[in-house]
Structures are given as C-alpha cells and as structure tokens.
C-alpha cells in the first residue's frame, strides 16, 4: 500500500508560512564529499531525490528505466538550514555531469551561488564542474575538502590549476565537521554579498506575464 511516511514535527519548515526559501548549490565531482558536507550542517537528515533525465514523453514510460529504455535517473542530495524566521536555506548537491542538463537547470535557477568542493589530489576532475557552474552564470567559492592530513598544495598553484579569478575565494574545509563546513559556507555568502554590492543593480523592473 501507498502510505505517507510519518514525519516528526522537526521535519517541517519552522516558519514556512512567512519564510523565503533560498538555495545554495554544493557541487563537485563524484565522491568529493558533497553528501558529507550537506549532512554536517543540515538540520534534517539529508534527503535524496531522483530526477529522470530524458524527454518528458519517455520519462513517464517506466519508473525504473528498465526494459532497454534510455532513461537515466540521477540522485540529488539536499539538506536544510533554518536561518531565521524570514529565511530558510536549502543546500543541494549533485555530481557535475554535463549530460544532466535538466537537473542543473532546476538546481541553478534562482540559486544564490555555489560552493565547489575540490579534492586537491584530483583537481582535473573539478574542471567540468567549474565549467558548468560558470556556464550557468553562478558565482562560486572553492572549498578544498582536506581531511586526511595530506599537505595542501599551495593556494597559488591551485588557483592556477583551476584557472580562478583573483577574487574567487579558496578555503580549506573538513566536510565532516559542522563548524568547518559552516565556515566555508560563510566565506561563500560573504563573497556573494561583496559581489552584489559591487554590481550596480538597475532598479528591478516589473515583469509582466
């Protein structure tokens, strides 16, 4: 039978009636620590959902994508952080595969920015992720997931390798540690705020749909 999972009170958005929901993306290549990062600061057990990566006509054909269909499902992990009575923040994580365009569009639309998790030993794996983030015009900071005590390549070399702009923040973090993950996120948000203050925004124009 189909029955609703019973959720505790804490599963619900605290002030959902008045809060603005915003999102930040946590991106990076496979196994770089996205889920760990989200789990370390999320107030809910991180959730996962799947999106079917095909044309709508095909995607409704079979839930499991079996029987030789070309449908692919890809998981997206996310967590939540109540910021205040006015704002609730969602963190979405997904691998940076270019072929999952639809998922990227869903995730990127309206995102405040992105935190790119980088493994210093696998820098090249981060190139496609950064390309994608840039192609969606999202501002980002780099968080070097640094948990095993290996010496960190010096920042300049890393900036060069990743071809970063001078003002793109680079921080190290231990994705397993709440405070460390929060500090990386704070660095990103401070940078986004700086960017928004640099940019002279034209007066918001009324959109007429």
């Amino acid at each position: 039978m189909v029955s609703a999972p019973s959720l505790g009170e804490r599963a619900y958005v605290r002030s959902g009636g008045t809060q603005t929901a915003v999102k930040i993306l946590v991106v990076g290549h496979f196994a770089v620590g996205k889920t760990t990062f989200i789990g370390s600061i999320s107030e809910i057990e991180p959730l996962s959902t799947e999106e079917t990566m095909t044309q709508a006509a095909e995607s409704v054909d079979d839930l499991k994508g079996v029987h030789g269909k070309t449908t692919t499902t890809v998981a997206m992990d996310f967590g939540r952080l109540t910021i205040s009575d006015r704002v609730v923040l969602y963190l979405f994580g997904t691998p940076g595969q270019q072929r999952f365009v639809q998922m990227w569009e869903d995730m990127a639309r309206g995102a405040l920015g992105a935190l790119v998790l980088v493994d210093p030993e696998r820098l090249a794996d981060s190139f496609p992720v950064i390309d994608l983030i840039e192609s969606y015009g999202l501002d980002y900071a780099i968080a070097v997931n640094h948990f095993d005590g290996t010496p960190l390549r010096d920042e300049r070399a890393l900036r060069e390798a990743l071809d970063l702009l001078d003002d793109t923040p680079v921080v190290t973090c231990d994705a397993r540690d709440e405070k460390s993950s929060a500090a990386a996120l704070t660095t990103l948000v401070r940078y986004l705020l700086d960017r928004s203050q640099q940019t002279t925004h034209p007066a918001p124009h009324q959109t007429s749909h």
Binding site: M1, V2, A4, P5, L7, E9, A11, Y12, V13, G16, G17, Q19, T20, A21, V22, K23, I44, L47, S48, T49, E50, E51, T52, A56, S59, V60, D61, D62, L63, K64, M76, F78, R80, L81, I83, S84, V87, V88, L89, Y90, F92, D106, M107, R109, G110, L112, E178, K179, A182, A183, L185, T186, V189, L193, S196, Q197, P204, H205, Q206, T207
Partner: protein, 125 residues
C-alpha cells in the same frame, strides 16, 4: 512474512508513472520549483476526497506543516517529476497551497544574503 515475497500489486514501483500522474504533464517550473514551500490548505479535510493513493499520501505528508517540493519527493521516494505533477493537481483542486520563493524584485538578493550571513554567524560562531 507476506508469503508473496513482499510483492504488492499496489507497490508504487510497479505502477507506471503515467498511471500515477493520469497522463498529466509537468507543471510550470515557476509554479513548483524545488524550493517552493507547500502545505495543506486549511479546508482540505472538508473537501470531497476522490484522490489517488499517491495524491492522498502527498496530502497526508503536507498536513502537518510546510515542506519544500524537494523534501516531499525525498520523503515519499517518488520521482521529482511525478511529485510535481501530483502537487500541481492538488493545488489546482484546492487541497494544497504553495509559497513560491519570493521573487528577487520583492526581497533584494542583498537583503537575503545579509540575513543568511548573519544567520550562519549566529548559528556557528
């Protein structure tokens, strides 16, 4: 033990998605984004219930407070596209109400970023 190897004819995974959605198409992205907050409308219990089991499940899960579209999909383990379609139909039927993320024009990005920054600092020091 069920004696049926756990096979249940009403198991969601065995029902084709277009059956669950009754062939309806994906709603407008803006109407139900990943972070649109959804809850049951105050009068939903008085409405005549002719809902599918999946719609009933979504309505049940939304009865106790607000959840984002993504969270509803995560908790129910239904594919996101299916959840969107079913939620859209429940909204249309007046069972659910939504709170779309506030458009940038209404609450400045900068204001939100300041709030997020202060919130993170307050929470994590």
């Amino acid at each position: 033990m069920t004696g049926h190897d756990g096979w249940d004819p009403e198991d969601t995974a065995l029902v084709r998605a277009y059956v669950i959605t009754k062939g309806r198409e994906l709603p407008d992205e803006e109407q139900l984004s990943l972070i649109t907050l959804v809850t049951a409308s105050p009068g939903h219990a008085q409405r005549p219930l002719r809902l599918s089991p999946e719609e009933q499940m979504l309505l049940d899960i939304c009865s106790a407070g607000y959840l984002s579209v993504a969270e509803i999909a995560g908790h129910t383990r239904l594919p996101l596209g299916v959840v969107r379609i079913l939620l859209a139909s429940l909204v249309e039927g007046g069972y659910l109400i939504t709170r779309p993320p506030v458009a940038p024009a209404q609450l400045a990005d900068r204001e939100i970023l300041e709030e997020v920054l202060n919130g993170l600092r307050a929470k994590f020091g």
